[in-house]
Symmetry: C2
Subunit: 190 residues, 2 copies
DNA sequence: GTCTATAAGATGATAGAC
DNA sequence: GTCTATCATCTTATAGAC
């Protein structure tokens, strides 16, 4: 079996560099140095940068699923679920002023292989699908209020959070994100 | 005097590549080939990539000022002003599925020189300042309605539009942007 | 202003030793 | 699994001819 420890370390470092600098601003050598192996060794786990990307998205989707499942089991009120959801984004920004993994890949989308773009879209759709469910349920239970369809409202919320991260990061100002997120949730509250 | 024609052509091509691929995914050679000069010649106009960046932002800020001034002189209603403002973003996406220049640089922010980051922030502040004015005036005249401060609401609107571009671009789906933008404006309308 | 030539280093990727 | 060695190519940038 492959050495999962090294493989995970490579993914951890690559993810951090990707979220911090962007896909085209870090190299296999950058990753290797931090993992303290040689660049060539990374190719043993991930033959190409595209495969590294796919693995990052796959792991991220699994991690997100765990987070969303936990929110679903912990919270019953839609407002609380959304607040917890937002806190996932804030945590990303909080540690090292990182951009969302998918948001960063979205910026680099034209430089990605076709198959990576497809995975990236599925990842966004994971978020949108969950948000749609929460919004739908919140509207029906009377705890949320909005005029668009749950689908459109979910898309708008995700987009707005991504944009809020992008700009808060530019100003290195976490409070910018927090303020935007607070207003976004307030607008949805019944 | 320097050859303004070539200089402008370099800026045009660099801007397109930047908005399409991102700062770290195009080279002086890429620009040179499209302008049909040699890469070394670009250094005559822009000694470093950072200076090219600064020039792009400076030109963009001037262009945006012209656009916003025109909106101000053409439209009196705040809702109309915002609709025109949104159409500037849509036009960018419409032609070649391009990301906003500043939004793209924001993704690459950690790889930018300090001085470029400062210019980038000023560019965002230009937008936010204008939006704040429109929102303030719209609220006072009774044509707009929102709960946050004009400043926070302006920041949120700009963030949301950037995020909507980012994700619409990922799906190569202009209508995603249009739908999000429509709902954003509807939420503000009194 | 634009070119050729060149530097000095980085990049993704592969072959083959250990 | 990890390494060294190597490849072919690209990158930003500079020097100096034309």
């Amino acid at each position: 079996m492959p050495n999962t420890e090294t493989r995970d370390a490579v993914l951890d470092v690559a993810q951090d560099l990707l979220q911090t600098r962007g896909l085209n601003a870090f190299s296999f050598r950058d990753v290797a140095e931090r993992v303290r192996i040689k660049a060539a060794s990374i190719h043993y786990y991930f033959p190409t940068k595209a495969e590294l990307c796919r693995a990052l998205i796959a792991r991220q989707r699994a991690d997100v699923k765990v987070s969303l499942d936990r929110i679903d089991s912990d919270e019953r009120d839609a407002n609380q679920k959304l607040a917890r959801y937002v806190s996932v984004f804030r945590a990303t920004l909080e540690v090292g002023n990182r951009m969302c993994l998918c948001g960063m890949l979205a910026a680099d989308v034209t430089t990605l292989d076709r198959s990576v773009v497809e995975d990236l879209r599925r990842s966004f759709e994971d978020h949108e699908g969950w948000l749609k469910g929460v919004l739908d349920e919140g509207k029906k239970s009377g705890s949320l209020r909005f005029d668009a369809s749950p689908r459109d409202e979910a898309r708008l919320l995700l987009s707005s959070l991504e944009g809020a991260m992008l700009i808060a990061r530019t100003f290195e100002d976490l409070r910018r994100f927090e303020t935007s997120a607070r207003h976004l949730l307030a607008k949805l509250k019944a």
